[in-house]
């Protein structure tokens, strides 16, 4: 219960962002749908095209729609010479707007088409201009049906806005995704409860407006409208800009516990240096480097091998120091991103098996694993099977598993523990390797590159002396054993700590 109350404490700023995003998307969708519906009601051809397009959008899963805006905006930005953010508010706004179009459009067209033709003819006959006809007759008569569509759109948008976390826009989804990754069910629950309460409140508010208009009771709908507006504006209060608190910096994190902890560690140091810190959690590996290069985030921790394979598209595996030098050089010259320093530990992909099973089957290396792979099942994280490292491993060790199943990291360990899979693609800094007595298999052919954790800085921060001075003490300080312990504090099943607590613990261990 205490954890849940703590989690609720994180709701207000996220709720503010959530409301801002959902309401902006809804307002934009109404601005597009209203004129389109009016034209559609007069021209059936336009109606068919507009509704067909809106239905098509609806068939795209909302998560995919959000993700698709990243490359789309990136190439658009390149086309116009930069300046268009591909992450954060803009892609979320556009995706949610498109998503809200269908119910708005469909109901507005139905409302307009449902008006008695005799009333429309009378409006013409008494000498109304098209605008007067719309304002005095069509809009009020279509309003109840159109507003029912607004209700549907509002509920959908508020729900789908939780997914904007994945493209770097803070929302109540931050709690849900972070909670899922670290198995903090209190966080998941707090996020869900807040999002559901918001959706229900807005639905009820608009419902009251709808009833007031349908029964022509002006005080009812006007009162509901004002209450709704005041409530929503009040909910955004934590997001109102406050002057004089020092410059704001944004710390990025991918979607797992270690990243959350390191982001908080970085954030705590920056706060002590006088910055106001915001976090963008849950960014995918594919978008986070773009986010730092474009300045959407100011700093984050990545892993050498990830940049090496995913961003630089290199297949060779040099020694770790040479690789770090090459990455620093590449990041600076191609994206003006600064590799400030390695943190000291490695978080490599590592194939792991329960010690007991590995001993029984006599598996110690990836060669041994490959030889027995047709009788084994592999569990991986959500992205490994698509990554170049997996291709590299299979080139070096011809593996053909009986089954390969992707899991989110926490569920991957559960699957290994329950025997549903025989081996997993673990992370070498994961606290659960030691805690759950797993054997990490050796890589004698050196197929997997080094994964030194590295601090990457956005171009604008590369020469910011105060900023770099605040982070430099972290360079080379964190050894893998300490990092595993910090990770385990967040990842363990019982007596979990929040990433903030683990970051504070880690800072103390480092003597900072």
């Amino acid at each position: 219960m205490n954890a849940f109350l703590d989690a609720l404490g994180r709701v207000p700023p996220l709720l503010a962002q959530h409301v801002l995003l959902a309401m902006a998307a809804l307002a934009l969708a109404v601005a597009i749908a209203a004129p389109l519906a009016i034209v559609s009601a007069r021209r059936p051809r336009v109606a068919r095209i507009a509704l067909g397009f809106a239905s098509l959008i609806q068939t795209i899963p909302s998560l995919a729609l959000l993700a698709l805006f990243f490359p789309a905006l990136l190439s658009l930005s390149a086309l116009v010479g930069g300046g268009i953010p591909a992450l954060g508010f803009l892609p979320s706004l556009l995706a949610l707007t498109l998503y809200a179009l269908l119910p708005l459009l469909r109901n507005a067209v139905a409302g307009l088409n449902g008006i008695d033709p005799a009333v429309v003819e009378a409006a013409d006959a008494v000498g109304m201009t098209p605008w007067q006809k719309l304002r005095l007759v069509e809009a009020p008569l279509a309003a109840p049906v159109a507003i029912a569509g607004l209700r549907t759109a509002a509920v959908w948008t508020i729900g789908a806005a939780t997914l904007s976390t994945t493209v770097g826009q803070p929302s109540l989804g931050d709690l849900i995704f972070a909670g899922l990754q670290t198995q903090s069910w209190a966080l998941v629950l707090a996020g869900c409860v807040a999002a559901a309460a918001l959706a229900l409140a807005v639905d009820a508010g608009i419902g009251l407006v709808e009833r007031g208009i349908a029964t022509r009771r002006r005080p009812v709908w006007l009162g509901a409208l004002v209450t709704l507006a005041i409530g929503l504006i009040a909910a955004t209060a934590p997001a109102w800009p406050r002057g004089g608190d020092g410059p704001v910096v944004v710390v990025g994190a991918k979607n797992f516990g270690e990243q959350y902890i390191l982001a908080r560690l970085i954030g705590q140091r920056l706060e002590r240096a006088g910055y106001r810190v915001e976090y963008r959690d849950g960014l995918g590996s594919a978008v986070i480097f773009g986010a730092v290069a474009s300045g959407t985030i100011d700093v984050y921790v990545d892993y050498a091998g990830t940049i090496w394979s995913n961003e630089m598209h290199r297949r060779d595996v040099p020694a770790r120091p040479a690789m770090l030098a090459a990455i620093a050089d590449w990041a600076r010259t191609t994206h003006r991103v600064r590799l400030l320093a390695p943190l000291g530990f490695e978080n490599a992909y590592a194939f792991a098996m329960p010690e007991r099973v590995a001993a029984q089957r006599r598996i110690a290396t990836l060669d041994d694993l490959a030889a027995q792979s047709p009788r084994l099942r592999l569990g991986s994280d959500l992205e490994f099977l698509e990554r170049p490292e997996w291709a590299a491993v299979r080139r070096a060790y011809p593996m053909r598993f009986a089954a390969t199943t992707p899991y989110s990291p926490t569920f991957m360990y559960r699957a290994l523990g329950s025997g549903r899979v025989d081996a997993i693609t673990a992370f070498s800094s994961d606290g659960r390797i030691a805690a759950e007595r797993l054997r990490v298999l050796a890589d004698p052919r050196r197929a997997i590159p080094g994964y030194d954790a590295i601090l990457l800085l956005a171009p604008d921060r590369a020469a910011d002396a105060r900023f770099t001075a605040a982070l430099r003490p972290l360079a080379g300080k964190i050894d893998v054993a300490t990092m595993r312990q910090a990770n385990y504090r967040v990842d363990r099943d019982a007596d979990k700590e929040t990433p903030e607590q683990a970051a504070t613990w880690l800072a103390k261990q480092l003597g900072l």
Partner: protein, 250 residues
Amino acid sequence: MVPPAIRWDRVERRYGTVMAVDGVTLAIDTGAFVALVGASGSGKSTLLRMVNRLVPPSAGRVLVDGTDVAAGPAPALRRRIGYVFQHIGLFPHMTVGENIAIGPRLAGDPPADVGRLLDLVELPRAVATRMPAELSGGQRQRVGIARALAPGAKLLLLDEAFGALDPVTRDALGRRLRALHDELGLTTVLVTHDMAEALLLATRVVVMAAGRIVADETPGALLAGAGGDAAQALVGVPRAQAARLAALVP
């Protein structure tokens, strides 16, 4: 010379291959009460609706008080012409009073005297605050007429205005309309398929068939046998009914 209130000048209206109105030329003098009579599909409604541009002519032109109706914007024209039709089309979200006052409101004129207009159509003034759905069909059509008269229109067009009413209401409303026509000095065009109604109310009866005018007579002349076969067929119906009713009297 005063131009006629309405003049149709070689007017045609095609719907695909069908000629709804087939080259009609007709003038209506100011102050006349003209009934346009014909079977369904004879083109009488289409001819009427060209006057306030609810239907544009395919060829020819329509003049009101000597001016081509196509000359200015349609809303300005329609605000000067009262129009009443079978389906009435009262605005369901406005009170009776708001419905009646809509014309002057649209034109930006001083507000209509709703009480006086309700008096004209013989409705109690209290209905001004009611909603249209609370009224009977006959009451609603009275509101429709009051709405048409509100902008001070001198030209009144009625398209089967009494078609959906019961006979008693229909008769009372017809008499009221004729009285208003005389009191206010209106020019009235009444489209109807009911020859008895036309004969009893109008000063001039124009009979249409297949998009053309087939007779144009006074009620007296029609009853005396003028106007040709098509017109006499229509006159024959109420006359025969009257004779059969008379024969029933013991």
